[in-house]
């Protein structure tokens, strides 16, 4: 055994782990986990505790996958910290990629309370004003709105009742609704 190992208990444990010593490996992993946790917290202060744990686990898995690269003649901690730094950098890159493709929404609009999700009809609560506004529409538009929107007739039924073509009804109801929207929004 060289003097390097005598001063490097973690190196000794790693050496035993490389030889298949389960107890030594368990002890090593238990001893380095708090070190890794501290290193991650120091370098990535903005991370949530769960993200810190994810990163620590990623480092442990990486260490496990490349444990053959540890040379017992060399100090253990620089070996470990190089892996840790590399995995932290990879973690940051992954996070950056995720955040670039994500849209963060602070508050999800709900139909029953948020203004953008409510239509004009449900927001406008004065039926008298609506009736007066419909009454002020040109006759063709008024008839179309009454039949298609108030009585909820189909286009075919409205066409046969009014003698207007389906296309003319569609145009009339569209214009009528636009006029109502403008009128009521000015009044509101």
């Amino acid at each position: 055994m060289n003097p390097q190992n005598q001063a490097d208990p973690l190196g000794l444990l790693m050496r035993a782990a490389q030889d298949g010593d389960s107890a030594a490996y368990l002890r090593l992993l238990k001893e380095i986990t708090p070190l890794l946790r501290r290193a991650v917290r120091q370098r990535r202060r903005f991370l949530q505790p769960s993200d810190v744990e994810d990163l620590v686990q990623d480092i442990l898995l990486s260490l496990h996958s490349v444990r053959a690269t540890y040379d017992p003649a060399r100090p253990f901690l620089p070996w470990l910290l190089t892996i840790a730094r590399n995995r932290m950098a990879d973690g940051s890159r992954r996070q950056m990629r995720r955040t670039v493709n994500e849209v963060s929404v602070a508050e999800y609009p709900e139909t029953f309370s948020a203004a953008p999700t409510n239509t004009l009809e449900t927001r406008y609560g004065d039926p008298d004003a609506l009736r007066q506004a419909i009454g002020r529409l040109p006759s063709g538009q008024r008839r179309a709105v009454e039949m298609l929107k108030l009585r909820e007739m189909s286009l075919k039924e409205a066409a046969s009742a009014s003698g207007m073509s389906v296309v003319a009804l569609k145009v009339a109801v569209h214009r009528g609704m636009n006029t109502l929207r403008k009128t009521l929004s000015v009044e509101a």
Partner: protein
């Protein structure tokens, strides 16, 4: 998964692992695989082209000797740096060491270009296509490239781009060392353009794909029996 649980899972199956040999030892293994192969390809090509390799001409060409030493040193330092780069804990400065022999090679070629220009005028700086060289140039790198990629995959991909770029530099430099043996009298501009140029292009391409070739193999580790 809980970290404590993961630790127990990892420690439950610590199958003994074969330690990676020291980088210089692995570099020696790579040369032991690659050099005989390069020699066979060069010999076969020289035979097929009926171009004998003229040792006496080589030994009297100082420019050629400097270039060949620089090329071989580039291959040696690049492969050493590549193997060091996959072992965590090595100083990153080791990655730039191959730039020194590479610079000497470039300077020697530049010097050759100036000499050719002085002696031959603009004819000395003409770049022509030499398609005869393409098959051996493509063939010469196959075994060294495969060998080095397989060997590098046993390590830790700390700097995958730099590692693969260095590996490609080593392979290409070794290939050029061999190819130059029957290009002794070539104009420096030809060597600069075709040989040195291909080394740089190959290294850049390898650096670009490095992260796809050398990756951490952690996926599924926590669930493996």
């Amino acid at each position: 998964m809980d970290t404590e649980q993961l630790i127990h899972q990892l420690a439950d199956r610590p199958a003994p692992v074969r330690r990676l040999a020291a980088p210089w030892r692995r570099a020696a293994v790579w040369f032991a695989i690659s050099l005989p192969y390069v020699a066979v390809v060069i010999f076969a090509h020289a035979m097929s082209m009926t171009m004998p390799i003229d040792l006496s001409q080589m030994l009297h060409d100082r420019q050629f000797i400097i270039e060949q030493i620089a090329t071989l040193l580039t291959a040696i330092t690049a492969v050493m740096a590549a193997f060091c780069s996959i072992v965590p804990g090595y100083d990153r400065k080791v990655l730039v060491i191959p730039l020194l022999p590479l610079a000497i090679w470039l300077l020697a070629l530049g010097d050759g270009c100036i000499r050719d220009w002085i002696h031959l005028g603009s004819r000395g700086l003409e770049v022509r296509a030499d398609w005869n060289c393409l098959p051996p140039a493509a063939l010469i790198g196959i075994v060294p490239a495969l060998a080095i990629v397989i060997m590098l995959q046993r390590g830790a991909p700390i700097y995958p781009r730099a590692t693969l770029a260095l590996a490609a530099l080593a392979v290409a430099a070794l290939g050029n060392f061999g190819l130059r043996l029957y290009h002794v009298g070539d104009a420096s501009i030809m060597v600069l353009f075709w040989h040195f140029g291909s080394v740089i292009v190959l290294s850049l391409i390898a650096g670009w794909i490095g992260q796809f070739v050398l990756r951490w193999k952690t996926a599924g580790l926590e669930t493996q029996p």
